[in-house]
């Protein structure tokens, strides 16, 4: 209903916009010559006067003439070259050198800057931004663009903790916060789609860059700009790629003999009487595990090898076409990905049980110049993601894989049936190949429409734009899993556990959501006559309305604006604001509006006269901004005093459950959005003929009114305290970038490095009483880990006797010794201090590449410093879960009398050990790492060869992802990002061919 009404109005808008005025008046004839960087004339370049339908082309000598007025902006474009824009002056003859467009590297400083609702010409904004372009994005053989950003953008920290096909996207953190993802100007949280359709990804980091987002401005933004068509000959590109995926690492578990041996040792250590307890493996059993003399009764199974393949494939096919004429431009693309999981499958199943991921992505971006003054466009993204997995579910299998000791059961019995015992009824192989399958279908449609009308007739440079977007997402699960029986051999008989069931037949909606977005903007972009002063102004109203499942719609509405003024290209001032809010506030789901202003200043020093003599500096600029931003974190009507169903009580002799109802979390009637005050200072420039580019930024962001539970939330209340706007954190840090790039006729190369540091500090958390300063969380990093300081392992009873007593524990040799911070002779909670890395997180990316005679090579190294990893729990400790848990290779180096000095693991215990399991530095490992994240070698066939078969480019390439990793050796081979034993992150070797014609 609402939507049709809106479309109707939209059609009216289109009709009204079509009433374009004809161009009239007296013109000057400008003539010019267009050459390339080798001074060769460029033929067929198109010259267009902005805001009109006047165009012309260069002839074979590169010469053109066109009628226009002083002050008009002309654009000269030619496929293969970068667009050239120029504002006409009194001089009627022009000489233009077009810069060759290269896929190899792009100079960020000469590209237009993508802002949230607009674009700024290079060097005409003071917003803190950084971008990565298509040429770099497509180098990574990944399915989510999140993973293609690692190491490429200063300030953006990524962490990929899982390699599960379809959900392997890294988490993104921009200056300590999770940024908003915006696709073509609309907030949309889609990150898994065709990488080739992305023109650029821009991070916006400071207040002035994001202020227009209002209550969504605090966390920074990640702007995805998709490719659009350009006037010119059609270009079709086809890429086929196949990657071999290999899991990076998986925790190494013990074989049956070592497991049983250590199991006995753990029991002995805990003083469990070997004569009576019955939990010990007998010597006969130990021998059998070691000699594999009776694999049925004493199995020794490497479960991982049994159910996973060493490699799996990722195939990708991308077809795109782009082109246009003076009336319309288009970019369309189609992509199919087929990513296999690493589980083994069997042909006897008529269905696939592997955890495969398939995607079909279609993109159609069409821009139309309806009249010289009216243009519009429709951008469309359609996405189908299909997942498949074993019926027992991938994560369940992986967690069983981690938790099942090698001696648990023979994976197959002698008669070929699945092995199992009463304890282990979930045979991992049966779960992998014999439990049916589950499927997941995700469908997304993202439609983006706009109409833009120049209002030059009112005043030159004025325009109006209407935009609408619709996003629909659906995820559906299909359950065709089945149960299976396992059998335990008892002599010749078999005991059955579980039943062989039929496949389930169910489906359900996992989630579904829809978003509609409307925006109306009025802008004014003008370069003032007789000066180089320019002005860019924009005011817009918008509404973003999303519905998730059965929740009430969440609507953010408001007004935003931006004003940028540039005086003689020397001085820049930029101001922006957001005045918006959402409908989750008291009294009755009202919209509460907040005002978030920001202002920035810039100084292009190189434009000053005194810099004329400093010839080696080609560009130099100082800039900075300050502003207030907001973050809407209102939750779902948390001000609303709610009662909800309790667990249900039981009454009566029939023991029936009756409904019970109870008060929900206390409402917070004062809830408001979170805020931040953000300062950003930067310097950037280029020296030595633009070869050496540099950029450095400092930021200091104070977040306040953060929603958190008060610290003194005494339980005497009898209910949970709600989150209140009380927290204060500060994030500060700096980012530096340096790059060198150079092109000669035959050789192009670049080296680039970026380094970022993010420091955080808790300023206020309503801290509870702490008897000692070192226990205070306030003043520490946000999320700082606390625990004891481990001082090695107790080596003797004498040492224990001479050491402070541990409250609630009697240590024995081999237990972890802790530091008595307050020297009161006991180890208790008062001795817990900040542990792990307390230095600010640092991360960096280093990339380089060269291109020579059709060959090209590039590589990206990425690293993190001052990061720690806390390894604990059943995935790391031996014999957890009451002693029945797994044990790992690194547990072999436990402390016992035979291995006292060099042990790096405490004495073994059977089940939990309150002393050794306590949070302490003992379990903190250095999480620093350096990865060869990406490397690529390509070869483009010579044009002379392929032009005969009417092809424009044929490029073959090999690239890799996660190729090499250097990390702390104490991780025992675990991956520094995905260390907990879930689906391992993959290393990829990718082979591909790209054909353009």
């Amino acid at each position: 209903m609402k939507l049709t009404a809106r479309f109707l109005l939209f059609s009216i808008a289109i009709c009204s916009m079509l009433s374009a005025n004809a161009r009239a008046g007296i013109f000057t004839t400008y003539t010019g010559i267009v050459v390339d960087n080798l001074k060769k004339p460029v033929e067929g370049a198109i010259i267009r006067v902005a805001g009109s339908n006047v165009t012309t082309r260069t002839n074979s000598l590169g010469v053109f003439s066109i009628d226009a007025n002083e002050g008009d902006k002309i654009t000269i474009s030619c496929p293969g070259y970068k667009d050239y824009q120029y504002v006409l002056t009194q001089s009627t003859t022009l000489s233009v050198t077009l810069e060759k467009e290269t896929d190899f590297f792009r100079n960020k400083e000469s590209e237009p800057v993508q802002l949230i609702y607009t674009t700024a010409p290079p060097r005409q904004t003071v917003a803190s931004n950084d971008a990565v372009y298509n040429n770099d994005i497509i180098k990574s053989p990944v399915t989510s663009f999140r993973n293609a950003l690692t190491g490429r953008l200063a300030g953006l920290y990524t962490l990929q903790s899982s390699g599960l096909p379809g959900t392997d996207g890294a988490s993104l953190t921009l200056r300590g916060q999770t940024p908003v993802i915006i696709i073509d100007g609309v907030v949309a949280n889609l990150t898994t789609f065709d990488l080739e359709e992305i023109e650029s990804i821009t991070v916006l980091k400071d207040a002035v860059a994001t202020a227009m987002l209002g209550v969504r401005s605090s966390n920074g933004a990640l702007l995805v700009t998709t490719r659009k068509g350009k006037e010119g000959r059609q270009q079709i590109s086809f890429t086929a790629q196949t990657a071999i995926q290999k899991p990076l690492s998986f925790p190494k578990t013990l074989n049956a003999y070592d497991y049983a041996r250590l199991h006995n040792e753990a029991l002995r250590n805990d003083g469990i009487d070997s004569a009576y307890s019955g939990l010990y493996y007998t010597q006969a059993a130990l021998d059998a595990y070691q000699n594999h003399s009776d694999p049925n009764k004493y199995p020794d199974i490497n479960f991982r090898d049994q159910i996973t393949n060493k490699t799996s494939l990722l195939k990708r096919y991308t077809l795109s076409a782009t082109g246009g004429n003076r009336f319309a431009g288009y970019f369309i693309s189609l992509e199919h990905i087929n990513q296999s999981g690493f589980f083994k499958t069997v042909d006897s199943n008529s269905y696939n049980t592997n955890n495969n991921f398939k995607s079909y992505v279609i993109r159609s971006n069409i821009d139309v110049n309806i009249t010289p003054k009216l243009n519009g466009g429709i951008y469309l993204l359609g996405r189908i993601l299909n997942g498949n997995e074993p019926g027992a579910a991938t994560n369940t299998i992986l967690s069983n894989l981690l938790n099942t000791p090698a001696n648990a059961y023979p994976i197959l019995n002698q008669d070929g049936s699945f092995g199992g015992t009463q304890i282990y009824q979930n045979n991992i192989l049966a779960q992998t190949i014999g439990s049916g399958y589950n499927q997941n279908y995700k469908r997304d449609v993202l439609v983006n429409l706009y109409l833009k009308r120049s209002l030059d007739e009112v005043t030159p440079g004025l325009w109006i734009k209407a935009k609408a977007s619709f996003n629909s997402t659906l995820s559906e699960n299909i359950n065709r899993s089945k149960s299976f029986a396992v059998y335990q051999q008892n002599g010749t008989a078999y005991t059955q556990f579980g039943t062989n069931g039929t496949q389930a037949n169910g489906n359900g909606i996992e989630y579904q959501g829809k978003t509609d977005y409307e925006e109306l903007s009025v802008g004014y972009d003008r370069i003032l006559k007789n000066s180089n002063n320019s002005i860019n102004a924009l005011v817009l109203v918008n509404r973003d309305n999303s519905t998730n499942g059965s929740d009430l719609p969440y609507t953010i509405t408001g007004t935003s604006g931006r004003l940028a003024y540039n005086y003689k290209s020397k001085y820049l001032i930029e101001a922006a604001f957001g005045l918006n809010g959402s409908n989750r506030y008291p009294d009755h789901g009202d919209t509460k509006l907040g005002f978030f202003p920001a202002v920035g200043l810039g100084w292009n020093i190189d434009k000053e006269h005194f810099m004329n003599s400093v010839s080696f500096v080609s560009r130099l600029r100082l800039y900075g901004s300050y502003g207030k931003t907001g973050w809407d974190n209102a939750g779902y009507f948390v001000y609303y005093p709610r009662f909800f169903d309790g667990p249900g009580a039981i009454f009566g002799t029939g023991a029936g459950t009756v409904t019970s109802i109870t008060e929900g979390t206390l409402p917070n009637p004062n809830i408001t959005w979170e805020k931040a005050d953000k300062l950003n200072l930067g310097i950037n420039g280029a020296v030595l003929k633009d070869h050496l580019n540099f950029k450095a930024e400092y930021f200091r962001n104070k977040y306040y009114d953060l929603l958190m539970q008060r610290g003194r939330n005494s339980t005497l209340l009898g209910n949970d305290y709600p989150n209140e706007n009380i927290g204060k954190n500060r994030y500060s840090g700096w980012e530096g970038q340096l790059s060198w790039q150079q092109s000669t006729k035959k050789l192009q190369y670049f080296i680039s490095v970026n380094v970022s540091q993010v420091k955080s500090k808790v300023l206020y958390i309503d801290e509870v009483y702490r008897p000692y300063d070192w226990m205070r969380r306030t003043g520490q990093s946000v999320g700082q880990r606390f625990g004891y300081v481990a001082e090695g392992l107790f080596q003797s009873q004498a040492e224990i006797n001479a050491s402070p007593a541990t409250v609630g524990y009697t240590p024995q040799p081999g237990d972890i010794k802790y530091r008595d911070m307050n020297r009161d002779g006991v180890i208790d909670q008062n001795d817990q201090i900040a542990i792990g890395s307390t230095d600010p997180l640092m991360f960096y990316g280093f990339s380089f590449g060269l291109s020579w005679r059709g060959f090209d090579f590039s590589a990206l190294l990425q690293g993190v410093e001052n990061r720690d990893i806390y390894l604990s729990g059943p995935g790391y400790w031996a014999f957890q879960n009451g002693g029945t848990g797994q044990a790992y290779n690194h547990n072999l180096n436990r402390r016992n009398p035979a291995n006292a000095a060099n042990a790096n693991y405490p004495r073994l215990s059977y089940g939990a050990n309150t002393n050794n399991d306590a949070a302490s530095t003992f379990w903190v490992h250095r999480g620093d790492y350096l990865r060869l994240k990406n490397a690529e070698i390509g070869y483009s066939l010579p044009e002379t060869l392929i032009s005969r078969i009417k092809l424009k480019t044929v490029r073959v390439f090999v690239n890799g992802y996660n190729l090499l990793t250097a990390a702390s050796s104490t991780l025992d081979g675990r991956d520094p990002e995905a260390f907990s034993g879930g689906y391992p992150v993959q290393r990829l070797f990718n082979f591909g061919i790209n054909i353009k014609f």
């Binding site: 209903m1 009404a5 109005l9 009204s16 009433s19 019955g278 939990l279 493996y281 001696n407 648990a408 015992t421 304890i423 009824q425 009308r453 409307e518 109306l520 009025v522 509404r543 009430l552 719609p553 509405t557 789901g589 009507f637 609303y640 005093p641 009662f643 909800f644 009580a649 039981i650 009454f651 009566g652 002799t653 023991a655 459950t657 019970s660 109802i661 109870t662 008060e663 409402p667 009637p669 003194r712 939330n713 005494s714 339980t715 005497l716 009898g718 209910n719 305290y721 709600p722 509870v768 009483y769 609630g808 909670q829 009451g882 002693g883 215990s909 059977y910 089940g911 939990a912 050990n913």
Partner: protein, 568 residues
């Protein structure tokens, strides 16, 4: 035409801001609010009844309550079959203010708030007078019960009265003294007892608090208040802390209050010991939901979860191996007398160490699985290598650590091949306890023979032979001290695994002796003759500070007015 262009912003603004033909409510009307819960139009009080029901959910249910184990696994009567489970923190001395497996602090105060929310709002609802009277009295009874749960753990705690604190209310409240907390609970019970349902409940109301429950709570609280630990016997040196956890001075007349309360209870004239049933009256108390011995119980759904968690590990029913989570100790088994009422070490008892389960108090077989007892049509095999003690971690990583499993509370499954759903309500108050309370108070007041009379009724129901002198094994001329020991032992075996022993050892101040000890199991070798060998299985430690639980560390840091108990 130009005008249309200027109309455009206006039109689109309308689209954007006024487009929504109101499709949804502006805030979720699918939620209950206070107004809907306590609805001024809810004539039958259906929804407010739901709010009352919820208060009941905070009552602790004792089965496998401490991370899968019984609290009694920390009483010396049993140990958990699994190693290093949290309940052992109590016996290993590893409890601290940040590591207490059974704080129950939060549960109690959440329950207290729930009751106060109900009491504050119920008057708005036009429910029938009697329903409202019952409802209010039930809420107050449960609130008193939650304070009792706090009292036995911590001593005096902050008493909140009828307040329902809001977001901005100051709840930095100090603890009330032990005496004030006792008085509060007792006075509440006195005030509401006549407003509660009468003792004979309709079958659909089974599980609701009755007058009997309120008086029974009073008996229990007064019994504790009169007991040595609290009755001036606290070990604290700091008088402020001592007043928080007990009376400053001893007053033997506090026992009289117990007697008075029991007499008040007995005047109800309704409750009695279950003397008949299959296989015995003692067993049927726990597996028949409604009977006149149960005064108040935590209601549970009918299922066989308890049979699966407690039966010996050799019983595999529908592919599920029974878990045998509890291992009663030899020390506990030895506490059961012979059928003649004599302790196994008393002369003439007839105890034979090579046939240790013959001729024993029938409650032993009803409480503990021992080797040879019949269960699901076969003999329990807890001998070395037997089905229920396979001694092979690959077969069963959990098995008895003592040679015994817990039988009490389980359904009547000595025959048959599978479990079926049965009633498993955890008794909070049952009549046998009232009798034992009475016996104890009478004995402490010097009325030893009156106490003997009470114990005789317990023993008679248990199946102990009356003997020629009709004294059920109690010797003639028993002294007060001997009788005290006998009552304590009778209480131990009669109320075993009902969360009494753990607290009784503390209030009698005997934990220092009986919990600094070695716990034994039995090693049985099955051959042509079965041999029995007592083996040590665990040692327990007890320090004076363990007499009271530590107030959770977090609560101390959040509320600067709370005083921690001494020693913690």
């Amino acid at each position: 035409m130009k005008k249309t262009i200027y109309l455009l912003p206006v039109l689109l603004s309308i689209v954007i801001f006024w487009s929504s033909c109101r499709k949804y409510e502006t805030e979720p009307k699918d939620w209950f609010t206070s107004q809907l819960t306590f609805d001024t139009l809810d004539k039958n009080g259906i929804v407010s009844g739901y709010a009352l029901n919820n208060i009941y959910t905070y009552i602790p249910g004792g089965f496998n309550r401490i991370d899968g184990d019984f609290l009694d696994d920390a009483s010396g009567d049993a140990i958990p079959s699994r190693y290093n489970t949290t309940v052992e923190n109590y016996t290993k001395g590893t409890v601290s203010s940040i590591n207490n497996p059974d704080p129950y602090w939060g549960n109690s105060y959440y329950g207290i708030r729930d009751a106060n929310v109900y009491l504050k709002n119920i008057d708005k609802v036009p429910v029938p007078v009697l329903t409202k009277q019952y409802g209010k009295a039930e809420a107050r009874f449960l609130r008193a019960l939650f304070y009792w749960e706090l009292l036995k753990r911590y001593g005096g705690v902050p008493l909140l009265g009828d307040t329902v604190p809001g977001l901005n209310d100051n709840i930095q409240k100090p603890r009330n003294s032990f005496a004030e907390t006792v008085d509060y609970i007792v006075n509440e019970c006195t005030a509401i007892k006549d407003s509660l349902r009468p003792v004979a409940l309709a079958s659909s109301d089974w599980g609701r608090a009755t007058k009997g429950a309120a008086v029974a709570l009073k008996c229990r609280v007064l019994l504790y208040a009169a007991s040595p630990l609290f009755n001036g016997g606290g070990f604290e040196t700091d008088p402020v802390k001592k007043a928080l956890t007990g009376y400053l001075t001893a007053d033997p007349t506090r026992w009289q209050k117990v007697v008075d309360a029991v007499l008040e209870f007995n005047a109800l004239g309704y409750y009695g010991l279950q003397t008949s049933g299959t296989p015995t009256g003692f067993i049927s108390v726990f597996i028949n939901k409604m009977n006149t011995e149960i005064i108040f119980a935590k209601q549970s759904p009918n299922n066989s979860n308890l049979e699966i968690s407690q039966s010996p590990v050799g019983y595999i029913i529908s592919n599920t191996r029974s878990q045998g989570l509890t291992s009663p100790t030899q020390n506990f088994v030895d506490a059961f007398p012979m059928t003649n009422g004599l302790g196994i070490n008393e002369s003439g008892s007839g105890y034979n160490a090579s046939s240790p389960y013959t001729g024993r108090d029938p409650r032993l077989a009803a409480t503990v699985f021992y080797n040879g007892l019949t269960w699901l049509s076969r003999s329990v095999q807890t001998y070395q290598g037997g089905l229920d003690k396979p001694d092979n971690p690959a077969v069963s990583p959990v098995e008895t650590r003592t040679g015994y499993y817990l039988r009490k509370f389980l359904g009547n499954f000595s025959t048959g091949t599978a479990f079926s759903s049965g009633s498993h309500n955890f008794p909070i108050f049952r009549y046998a306890e009232i009798i034992l309370d009475y016996a104890e108070a009478l004995n402490e007041l010097g009325q030893v023979e009156s106490a003997v009379t009470q114990i005789k009724t317990i023993r008679a129901r248990a199946g102990i032979a009356a003997g020629t002198n009709s004294r059920y094994g109690i010797k003639v001329g028993i002294t007060q001290a001997e009788m005290r020991t006998l009552i304590q032992n009778e209480r131990r075996i009669e109320l075993a695994f009902e969360e009494h022993r753990f607290w009784d050892m503390r209030r009698w101040k005997i934990a220092g002796q009986v919990l600094n000890t070695t716990l034994n199991g039995i090693k049985i070798t099955n051959g042509t003759t079965v041999t029995y060998q007592i083996v040590p299985v665990a040692t327990t430690v007890f320090q004076d500070k363990f007499y009271h639980m530590p107030i959770p560390y977090d609560e101390i840091t959040k509320n600067s007015k709370l005083i921690q108990n001494e020693g913690w």
